[in-house]
Symmetry: C2
Subunit: 191 residues, 2 copies
């Protein structure tokens, strides 16, 4: 619940008890049933969330085909950050794969806090920096690895995810077809 959020935040910035109280006034908690959408394509993302419990994925829907692009786990932030920052329409969907609980803050409240509390600005800087580092690494590894290598590093680095999602989602996440992944697995099992 909110406890976890506070713990994670305090790893990034030091808020006094009063600062925390001010901050937490802008927070709300929302629950999502499995299958519900945090955000739909075309919508504007007005919130940044922190996942207390549950699990989300995000995907592009192009010509009827879902292109899985990533996952959001507990103790991490969830948002379409480009849409959130640029106030632009989202190009992808974010959907709950399990019943989930998310702590939300609205863009307007966050931007107000930047002025009142410089530490919140520092927090957002950390978040953006970490997001950047994360996506950079994904980007680079995508270039430098074959689908087979991506599959191997996926199941070893994120086994929890790999176990709880169906294989066609994994395939899509790796940028290949279900048939392709099936063959890769077969090939690997022969080694």
């Amino acid at each position: 619940m909110k406890g976890n959020f506070k713990i994670e935040i305090s790893k990034l910035i030091n808020l006094t008890e009063t600062e925390w109280l001010v901050f937490s006034k802008s927070l709300t908690i929302k629950h999502y049933k499995k299958g519900e959408f945090f955000l739909r394509e075309g919508d504007f993302c007005n919130y940044v969330g922190f996942i207390n419990t549950g699990f989300f994925n995000f995907f592009y829907l192009i010509k009827g085909v879902e292109h899985m692009r990533g996952f959001f786990y507990p103790d991490n932030f969830i948002s379409n950050y480009p849409s959130f920052l640029l106030k632009s329409a989202s190009k992808f969907h974010i959907q709950a794969l399990e019943d989930s609980s998310v702590t939300l803050i609205h863009r307007d409240d966050l931007f107000l806090l930047y002025k009142k509390q410089p530490k919140i600005q520092e927090l957002s800087r950390y978040i953006a920096e970490n997001l950047y580092i994360e996506v950079s690494e994904k980007y680079e590894s995508f270039f430098l690895k074959t689908p087979e290598e991506r599959y191997l590093s996926f199941i070893t680095s994120e086994p929890e995810v790999a176990e709880k999602i169906p294989q066609y989602m994994i395939a899509s996440y790796l940028g290949i077809t279900p048939e392709g992944l099936s063959r890769i697995k077969k090939r690997l099992s022969k080694k």
Copy 2:
């Protein structure tokens, strides 16, 4: 020169003249000859730069093969931001493709400024956010496009770059071999 830097910065944050003076005390200008390195693999990136004039690229060197990953233009920031932030060794090279002039700030000075001037923190938040948005888009388009489509969108969206770099660099940037690009061009010319 520094003028341009000031103009670009003032698009992002409003600094008073005195704030600017404090800020600019941390800045130095460095010149790079064509071929010189802004950063080498294995080095620690201790600076963020702003390109006044010139042109840089960055690439991974893996088993003797250069993997071109991107370019830095005038009026933009240049750094290996993950290395800069995490104080980790750079995994790639950044090299000047032309004689260049860069305005630099050292990590220590920047971090000090965060405490003295909250606006600088805001600046860094903007920068990180923009970097994130940029690399996210590149990442997504890489997934959703074939090499041929990537080539077409590259030459239409960045014609200046496409014209001034040799074709084997373009191929590497698109994630294909020079031969592959040669065939793509041939295929396209037949249409």
